[in-house]
Symmetry: C2
Subunit: 250 residues, 2 copies
């Protein structure tokens, strides 16, 4: 069944009103008519099974039939902080990290980031980023849309990370050392409901200076398996492993 994320103001008692892009999708793309059924996600994470009552004035009016009991959100609240990568990799990461259950996805200007984005460029992109994570949330049947932010400075990132219980950074050098701490040494201590912050470098990895700042801010260096992963593959490894351990094993 088609799924739509509906803003808080559009919910009244047991009715939902749908406008804008979602109205267009329902009426012009899906060609639904009164009687058709859809899923509507409330911003609080709950999902309502709804039936379309009428369509008028560029608005779809739907009645809530019942609330669903579905668990598609990770029991761990995880933020992915990605060193700004080249080309369209950031948009790729937004889509894939959403599918794989991230709560928050932010990018930061790393020393070795090849591209530099100023606020003007970001302000043009932010709506597009929101659209990517909204569509990926709908497609993957999530109940929450991840929050997106960027491009932060490393300093802003470290300040934000202070409120998190677990902080890691992917460090290529660790992959080569078999005696280093393994991801599981940390995952095994995390409890459901905990908050996790994972920082990943851009294509060239972290600079020595950045590694020092991360360590000073209580980030633990982890390896992500014994192979060297590209920057855009690293968050997918973290999120898949976290899902496997907390959603499929326990």
């Amino acid at each position: 069944m088609q799924r739509y994320f509906i803003q808080k103001g559009n919910w009244q008692d047991d009715h939902v009103t749908i406008t804008g892009d979602d109205y267009h999708h329902i009426v012009n793309v899906m060609r639904m008519e009164p009687g058709a059924e859809i899923l509507c996600n409330h911003p609080d994470g709950n999902v309502a099974h709804c039936k379309i009552a009428k369509v008028e004035n560029e608005t779809v009016f739907a009645d809530i039939l019942h609330w669903l009991d579905s668990e598609t959100e990770s029991p761990i609240s995880i933020t992915i902080a990605q060193g700004l990568p080249k080309g369209d990799k950031w948009e790729f990461i937004l889509q894939k990290a959403t599918e794989l259950g991230a709560s928050r996805i932010v990018t930061f200007q790393a020393e070795r980031s090849v591209v530099k984005w100023d606020d003007k460029k970001v302000s043009k992109k932010i709506a597009r980023w929101g659209k990517i994570v909204k569509e990926a949330s709908e497609q993957s049947h999530r109940n929450q849309i991840p929050t997106v932010d960027g491009v932060l400075s490393l300093q802003a990132l470290l300040e934000e990370s202070q409120s998190y219980q677990w902080k890691f950074f992917a460090y290529e050098e660790e992959a080569r050392e078999q005696q280093s701490s393994k991801l599981h040494d940390y995952f095994s201590k995390i409890n459901k409901g905990d908050t996790v912050f994972v920082c990943i470098g851009p294509e060239g990895g972290f600079s020595v200076n950045e590694v020092e700042q991360l360590k000073a801010a209580s980030f633990q260096a982890v390896r992500l398996g014994p192979r060297i992963l590209r920057t855009e593959t690293a968050p997918l490894y973290v999120l898949s492993s976290l899902s496997y351990y907390f959603e499929e094993m326990r």
Copy 2:
């Protein structure tokens, strides 16, 4: 250190000769000269630390200094069989599945594959596929290059799968049923050295007919976390989880 995969015939006693693309890369791209050190991967999976002795006649002559003791290959031999997807997703999967440790990566013509490739089209592409997995193996510091094959029929795929110890297919319907078998129920029974075959549908998933054939060939339906993953995300989830469980937990 730069890494090159060298064919068996180019190894003699404690010397290696390097020609073709790799010669070009060493001499023209990296601009290395006698005295420079490189890593050379033997097809048997061993890696030699080498020093360039001389460069002449479009050939690099290198001496083996010593053999490395490195473990970057998964203890589980895993084949990813991917329903032929749209656009450039197959090449994306080749690169990412290599980074994440797959032994063999094959594609098959699924009923719901939107594109159809004939042998003529495949024969033009196969060299490019080989190049993608070779480069991804070098970049991720693997000791083995995965084998690539396609486009197989489902029947050929099922015949090939007979020699494997564990056979799974990703089934979207299972993700919605919380009581279904979890990936871990199977992973927990797999031993290091075992062979695993994982079959993933194209964008539209498997047809009812294909699901019946897979089940008849002893494939187990598994869910890959509670969210619905895109076809190109599914193999990354499987490989990351397998790496986490067998390389980072145990």
